[in-house]
Symmetry: D2
Subunit: 382 residues, 4 copies
């Protein structure tokens, strides 16, 4: 029997977390062949050298490819997308996959979708149908319009895909593979405690800590510095020990980074510990054990729901995304942020919610990729 060749493009640390269990499931099936492309920020030191994590996990990429045009602004985001299409097309031409899988809504996701669509390679897409803010949402829906197989995380997302005209027969609610990763590991902090250096004051993992992760909102480019300063003010007022992660590489991340740098240099807060990156597993441990996650990362809503981690979600970046009752939404306003953190700390942990997956998504998706009919033809379904 000829194996189906499934090509997956991993382009960032977030990407990898959302596809790792699927990569394992593909590799483990005798009827599938994994073709792994690693590129963009997943290759960069500045973003935590994810490629090394991938190799340590036992995956050797079929190709690596540098794709990020430096600048971290709207222009370079567009240009990086274009460069990614040029390069992925050559790689697809040489790997000749039977199906390409692309994750969520980043610019590399769009590039993957366009390259495979024009090349008549069936396109599978995870996390379609989600509602969020920013350019990501427009991009996500555009990718759904190109995709041939949809693997939304939730039933609500499936409904939305159908509403937009996607065929119900091409949609499978599988949950998100990111939940798989966190469902089968030891979630205690023991292993984390000694490992991470980071910059700033030493952390006592046995005491309560906050987790902060705030990304730029690309459609609000130019406003990032003001936004991060509100968060900084709220955190600084609390003077509680804090794990702070650097933002991803979208347009505007320079502003966020600048705000953080200025804070660090001028205020020298000895209770805040800055990190570039964690492994997927360690991030889960830290998220599971924090008293509250603060910022605009989707992990607060998604993995947070599964763990029952209290979450303070700031601004518009997650607008429209489904959420469990572990989430409190606030504006970019130091007072609101501070008050919400306090409320969440007093509430404590929420019950587990499998809204975004129950730990078997990777296997479900691999099964469908192995057995579903693959076609590039699609029609609106109204």
């Amino acid at each position: 029997m000829r194996k189906r060749k499934v090509c997956v493009v991993v382009a960032s640390r977030a990407n990898y977390g959302r596809v790792k269990s699927l990569l394992q499931a593909i590799r483990d099936r005798p009827d599938l062949e994994l073709q792994l492309i690693v590129g963009a920020s997943a290759l960069l030191y500045r973003f935590g050298n994810v490629i090394e994590v991938i190799r340590k996990d036992g995956f050797e990429p079929n190709a690596t490819v540098y794709l990020v045009i430096e600048g971290e602004n709207p222009t370079t985001m567009a240009k990086s997308t274009g460069l990614a299409i040029v390069e992925l097309a050559t790689i697809f031409e040489n790997l000749k996959p039977d199906v390409v899988l692309t994750v969520a809504d980043r610019y590399e996701t769009m590039a993957t979708a366009i390259a495979s669509s024009y090349m008549n390679i069936p396109l599978a897409h995870t996390q379609g149908g989600d509602l969020t803010g920013s350019i990501d949402e427009r991009v996500r829906h555009a990718i759904s319009k190109l995709a041939n197989l949809h693997f939304p995380a939730t039933h609500k997302s499936r409904e939305l895909l159908i509403k937009m005209g996607e065929s119900p027969h091409a949609i499978w609610v599988t949950g998100c593979p990111s939940i798989d990763v966190i469902s089968c590991i030891d979630l205690s902090l023991d292993s984390v405690m000694q490992k991470y250096g980071g910059t700033g004051a030493p952390l006592d993992w046995n005491r309560p800590y906050l987790l902060v992760l705030q990304h730029p909102v690309t459609t609000e480019f130019g406003d990032g510095l003001r936004q991060i300063e509100e968060t900084i003010q709220a955190i600084h007022a609390l003077k509680m020990q804090t794990v702070w992660l650097w933002p991803n590489v979208d347009a505007g991340s320079d502003d966020i980074a600048k705000g953080i740098r200025l804070y660090r240099e001028h205020q020298k807060p000895d209770f805040v510990h800055f990190y570039r990156n964690f492994s997927v597993e360690d991030y889960a441990r830290i998220l599971n054990n924090t008293v509250c996650i603060v910022g605009n990362s989707s992990s607060g809503l998604r993995e947070g729901a599964y763990f029952g981690t209290p979450c303070v979600n700031i601004g518009s970046r997650q607008d429209g995304r489904e959420r469990g009752n572990n989430v409190m939404d606030v504006d970019h306003n130091a007072n609101q942020i501070g008050a919400a953190i306090c409320k969440q700390m007093s509430h404590g942990r929420y019950p587990q919610n499998t809204l975004f997956g129950d730990g078997t998504s990777g296997k479900k998706i691999a099964e469908i990729l192995a057995t579903a009919p693959l076609s590039i033809h699609k029609r609106l379904h109204f």
Copy 2:
């Protein structure tokens, strides 16, 4: 008063025909400034040097840009899209338009949409909501998901956009500017008769003639040679004088071109006249006066409806597109094609149908571009 800068990307002869009256309308308004980018096949001799036509019409481009990676197959189509994004982003960065307008559904259209979306420039799109076959349809809907202002040609297309979740407040049914061009010119063949050389036998424009225009269907890449041979067989059997246009530059056009070349070399048909290109106006004249247009060009359905030109539409390329009663649909089958042509010739001309526009689309669109609120924020409207 500051003029709004409207940037329009023209990438092919078809593009230009569908936007020419709009370019004039933008230029004529005191509250708009036209920024014209001409690229891709519009610069190439092989596709009729459309740039010269544009300059003769009085438009001097702000930038020209070579974008077509040679190969005319799915891989190069993807790569050309990527290259176009890279280059358009740099040009947008320097022109700083207030709004970008993109036409229909070609790969340059997608490139324009992606570059402007990531660069936070409001995107206007014509011909959204159309239903057709091939990759074009997926691309067109994906672009609608990125677009901020929609200018569909028909009310049915508007309905479809709304169904897919686009806000009714962002949709204006304007008709298609391609109808404008043909609504205000002398449609007699007098001016055409002496002008065109082409290859093959001389044509007597005073006698009835067929018009053939058959493009590759990108999602049926590899089947083009067989498809064109059926058409060739049907036309060859009729032995009627025929105007035959070379196909556009999509993936697969090599196959179509090869079929035509083989036919010409082996059968040496002295009743068929081959042409690379006509001006938009002359094409309209020829379409208006032909006894039947044969092939899979959208012009048979669109401009054909306005003229009432009998049309034999072959294969899947226009599947789902609205049409008037001037159109007969047939498969890639020489017998069906031949029979349909005969039927259409015996029927003769149909009454005018303004389904796709009444001749005022360019002005309507320019008016909206000048006055509608411009924003990059959008929400699904369900």
Copy 3:
């Protein structure tokens, strides 16, 4: 023992002819591993689908890559160079060659040289030190400045490399592998006679025929149409049966092609047979048996010397290149061209001259690639 990985980039039919015996020699050595990249015009139907010839010869490329940005003018030549660098860098990154070999002086050659130089991969270069006209000469010397191992064809070229400051220890006069190919085949026309279709009148290979091959001169861009018209006039006056090859894809080839097309359409010469491409071997047979080669192809000087084929060399394209006494140089002037052809026909064949190689170049180069020290460090040697 670890094999040295030798990466060769083949980008056109001319390229392939100049490297084919070397590819065989590399493949045949137990201490070398061949990494073959095929791209640019070698993939295009319009230029004879060289990739198919390569595969028939038993070479399966490690990667294929589309590189030609359409336009065939100075701008697209520059852009294709840039695109080639981007793509080759990614391919080199994944193939990790120990040494890269690049051939002669085309834009893909320059792209290969730049990608490998910046990537700290030792660069081997054939045909350095030749003197010719046009941009090729500047490019060739620039590549020599980047190259670490030089394989010039002649002693005079070696002298020039040393004069320019290249170290004598890094230069090996090996002759050109293109001579290898033609030195070991049956040179009779028997196998050619039935094979080729081409366009135009049927040819009687048993009777004397001319061979015409005229490329654009890129530094004289814009003058190509006039240049080819002089040649056409001379050939047309002779009314002798003629094998005419289409030009390569450099800037300006559209002009040459246009001139040929116009000639064919208007004069319909029944004694001229046009061809897109021959296999390397068949081209050698045709060159060996022609009464005279006319145009500006280097094959008239190089392979022509080995065969003793009379050659009329037109214009500046080969200025400065070494030549045997089989060559007569003329201007772009129909009278001069015609007179020189007559003189050459009356002289007849010249004795063999091994100036450009004796048939063992491929093996010599492979031996050096296997055994010479490889380093990226170099110093001017004065």
Copy 4:
């Protein structure tokens, strides 16, 4: 009279310093029109936002263009070169310069040279004929082979260009415009003292200070961390107040940056002040007043000669470059470095040396660009 259009590409802070006085001289001539393109690291915050300095100096670029593919390794250096060629070709196509000027030997310089050469635009080149280490030297000589007008800084460089076969008639010894900038400003530190923040301990500009600037050596990629650690050890031992500049963006700069970061975090040296960038003028002031410049920047040799600044030059990066007697060369060895710094401090300032320019280079070059015959044809001159 039609003005000659002179296009200059500025791609980094070093670039700008070496061309600023020429930009002024071009702008001031009635017979020249300046076309300024600013791109690559000159647009990036991480490298000091040089574009803002350029605008403050009164130059408004005709085009800005993002060119740097992130990664700072040999692969991305090659890819950035390719991307630069693609983009510059489009910009040249639209600006249509009469001559392009390119500076020194960076990858953007090579990209500029290749784009203009293939586009048949005469190419002027500054700093040709210099001898240095690393890939820069090979690139510089390759550019000389492409260039039509040479503006070397020194007579020795002129001799070398002639030796390599460049025509003496195409070479003008003009000195380097970087000397112009520093020859006409107030060199006292007064204006510097309050301006710069940087990271680390406050500096007392009235007391003696060291200046450290160490770039990666691209041909020694992988060795950067070890190299910088030797320098760090030497500086740390001296415990003298020090101005330390971050390295440029070549392949390997991540390693250097990492070394510096680790040093800063672990040793927390309160006598070292880290800076991202100075204006050209302020850098000159700091160089003029330091007791010793340490590292491998060419400024120690070039501007250092003019000022008579004591210089300790480490490693191979400047190998072969001309130097005055203000320079002591040492290996990457902490002891050697420390000893040399002490020796230089005890020697004190050297007399002025105009080896690299006397302050009139910009005007001289502008005069030649305005009056010399421009041609794309060149021949080796032996």
